[in-house]
């Protein structure tokens, strides 16, 4: 993997930039433009989390990081996507796109024997990250349901609860 890793590291900026643009395409073109343009993390949390998240995931994959680090890198993006108007498949699909982005960036180099085996291994890591993304997504969907239940519980009149326990 060293050879491929070196190549990918050299092109990291271009890959992540392209991948981030691709990940933004899940939103309408008007929104994607805004999310790509605005750099302030508070005015544009979606764009910010995609920029930082895609970079962190890519670096974790290059480092062959453990699951925990990959999950952490994915957390913000999936937390946001879990409450957006997206099918679950659309929420995690952006990870698969990384494969194409890498192929585009490497061009003919991706067919070279020296790279192809390593590249297959790297693609496996991406597949694994997709599975983890799915876990994170589902965890946040479950959290959403839990919060809804908690909210209903909190609105049960306080004095009624007191009477039961008092």
């Amino acid at each position: 993997m060293d050879g491929l890793t070196r190549v990918l590291r050299n092109r990291q900026h271009a890959i992540v930039e392209r991948w981030c643009q691709d990940a933004l395409a899940v939103y309408s073109s008007r929104a994607a433009l805004v999310f790509a343009r605005e750099q302030d993390q508070f005015a544009n949390p979606i764009g910010h989390s995609l920029r930082t998240g895609t970079r962190a995931v890519f670096e974790a994959l290059l480092d062959g990081a453990d699951d925990e680090r990959i999950r952490r890198a994915l957390d913000d993006i999936l937390r946001t996507r879990a409450i957006q108007q997206l099918a679950p498949s659309a929420a995690v699909e952006f990870l698969f796109h990384l494969k194409d982005v890498i192929r585009q960036e490497l061009g003919s180099a991706s067919n070279e024997a020296v790279c192809s085996h390593d590249l297959t291994e790297f693609m496996r890591r991406i597949d694994h990250a997709v599975l983890m993304a799915f876990d994170v997504y589902v965890a946040y969907r479950e959290r959403l349901c839990e919060l809804r239940i908690n909210e209903v519980k909190r609105t049960i009149p306080w004095s009624v609860g007191r009477r039961k326990t008092g």
Binding site: F42, I83, L147, R148
Partner: protein, 558 residues
């Protein structure tokens, strides 16, 4: 031939050709996608009957047929014509937008969802397109070319979806060079929907309750008395103090009213307890009212007429009880109603006096017209004059940030008073980033009648920018509490924080004041108003007890 997991199976050139961008359809041709979790259930006919509102009927958001009344298009157009002539601002907002885009990325729902119809300019365009088609010469002739479109059932569905995705927070209007107020456009949109019997139940049921019982929750007078008595019991447990409970007291100096959400729901109840304790300590002559039992007014989210009907009780009760002036609790939209509409709607309150603090003698000149003062203005003045003995160290375990609630902050300009109070009762106060507070504050995502659980997914989209800023101060400064002076915030930001910044609790400001106040006659304070042990205080006491126990003097603090 290589297998699928071997190099060479895929042709890289083919793979990169896939077009994944969503198909682009013009906004007028993009129908609404009613996904569960993103809309609010319809108003039940029984509630419309209570209020005498037109066309009560059973319908469901996900039904194809919303059972609109006969001649519904004419009803809408007539309603629009009436409002255009009645409200100059509405006419102006329909005509004046130049689509500069300054508002486009300022709405919290757009920022959290990426849905272009949550751009304020496009939200207004939902109405404007009908206005152009039917009320302008150009639109009548050129139709779509002039930005007009015919009024169809799909337009009504779109209105329903997006006008209940606006919290009327007015953040966009801060950035609009013309000052177009999308909140007023949303208000008009909701009023027009109401003409067809289309309301959301989370608004119209509280409104019906308020119309009959004086509060959104339908708490009857004896229930309110019970609730306040329960709170007095907990206050006694936490502080050892027995507070007075003046209710419907004729001749009291001050009528106090607050949102009814603080009577029942955690954590608002602790804010309510704090009022009782602080008024007791300050020895003011005040009264609760079981008739004017809600400062909140969901009529604001229904129609101007409904808002006026619900608010009439405030001055009526002030007159009946013979008070001198009115003091209001920590509520958001209540302040918009009270300070921007109450006097002209239900006034003049010429039977009341200009509010003067009985504690400090301060005359609240700014309230000369409405005769109503905000609790933060009142407490800031009390603290400024040193009339409240405070020990902010009691809140040392709290690292607090402050959420400017849209209506008091952006709408009313109450920016400094809550901060002054917080700095005096907490040693650890941290501001969120500049572009997320004060006039630019981000809404909780649940205001204007959106704060119901079935709408949770949408609320969390709207709550993303606020939650994101809270998480920033949580990570940077270790913030563990978010203070807000709005009952809707206290209910909805709990969920926003639990999702976006777990570990941050929500509190009212008065609760922190009461927890920091050294009350006359208090017992040794080991627990706060939530009856949670106060770190340091409880340990100290346990240590003292352990020492006594070893000396055989058990029970000194029991």
């Amino acid at each position: 031939m290589a297998t699928f997991d071997e190099p060479g199976y895929y042709d890289p050139d083919e793979l990169v050709q896939i077009q994944r961008h969503p198909p682009v359809t013009p906004w007028m041709e993009t129908p609404v996608d009613f996904r569960p979790g993103t809309f609010i259930y319809p108003g039940k006919p029984k509630n419309l009957h209570v209020l005498g509102l037109p066309h009560p009927h059973e319908w469901a958001v996900t039904d194809a047929d919303w059972k609109l009344p006969q001649g519904w298009q004419q009803i809408i157009l007539d309603g629009m014509a009436e409002r255009l002539s009645r409200y100059r601002s509405f006419q102006l907002f329909m005509d004046i937008c130049v689509r500069c885009g300054a508002c486009a990325d300022k709405c919290h729902f757009f920022i959290g969802s990426g849905d272009p119809k949550n751009m304020p300019v496009l939200r207004a365009e939902l109405l404007r397109s009908i206005y152009r088609k039917d009320f302008t010469a150009l639109g009548k002739v050129f139709g779509k070319l002039a930005g007009g479109r015919p009024l169809t059932e799909d337009v009504i569905k779109e209105w329903f979806y997006y006008f209940y995705q606006c919290t009327e927070c007015r953040r966009c209007s801060v950035f609009c060079p013309y000052g177009i107020d999308t909140a007023e456009i949303t208000m008009m949109g909701r009023e027009l929907l109401g003409l067809l019997g289309l309301y959301v139940n989370w608004v119209i049921e509280p409104v019906a309750n308020c119309y009959r019982f004086g509060n959104h929750l339908g708490i009857q007078p004896h229930g309110m008395v019970d609730t306040l008595e329960f709170m007095a019991g907990d206050i006694e447990e936490a502080t050892g103090i027995t507070v007075d409970l003046p209710i419907n007291k004729k001749g009291a100096e001050i009528l106090f009213f607050t949102p009814s959400g603080d009577f029942v729901a955690d954590p608002g109840i602790y804010t309510c307890m704090a009022y009782m304790l602080l008024f007791h300590e300050l020895g003011i002559d005040y009264t609760w009212s079981t008739y004017a039992s809600d400062g909140g007014n969901f009529g604001l989210f229904t129609s101007h007429e409904t808002m006026k009907r619900l608010n009439a009780k405030i001055y009526a009760e002030a007159k009946r009880l013979g008070v001198k002036w009115i003091l209001g609790g920590e509520c958001g939209h209540m302040w918009r109603v009270v300070h921007q509409y109450m006097n002209t709607m239900n006034g003049p309150a010429d039977f009341l006096e200009v509010p003067t603090s009985p504690v400090t003698g301060t005359v609240f000149e700014h309230a000369r017209s409405a005769k109503t003062v905000h609790i933060m203005e009142f407490l800031a003045d009390v603290i400024k004059h040193g009339k409240l003995p405070l020990d902010p160290a009691r809140n040392d375990h709290i690292r607090v940030t402050f959420h400017d609630s849209c209506n008091p902050a952006r709408g009313m300009g109450i920016l400094e008073e809550p901060r002054y109070v917080l700095r005096n009762v907490c040693n650890h106060f941290y501001e969120m980033p500049e572009n997320t507070i004060r006039e630019q504050t981000f809404c909780c995502g649940g205001g204007a009648g959106l704060g119901t659980d079935e709408n949770m997914e949408m609320r969390l989209r709207g709550g993303l920018p606020r939650g994101n800023a809270v998480r920033y101060v949580q990570e940077r400064y270790g913030v563990n509490q978010l203070a807000a002076m709005c009952a809707i915030d206290r209910a909805t930001l709990v969920t926003v924080c639990d999702y976006w910044a777990p570990g941050v609790n929500v509190t009212g400001i008065s609760e922190l004041v009461a927890n920091a106040t050294v009350f006359r006659g208090e017992k040794r304070r080991t627990h706060n108003l939530r009856l949670e042990p106060i770190p340091g205080m409880a340990d100290e006491l346990a240590d003292a007890d352990a020492v006594l126990e070893t000396r055989g003097e058990v029970g000194a603090h029991a």
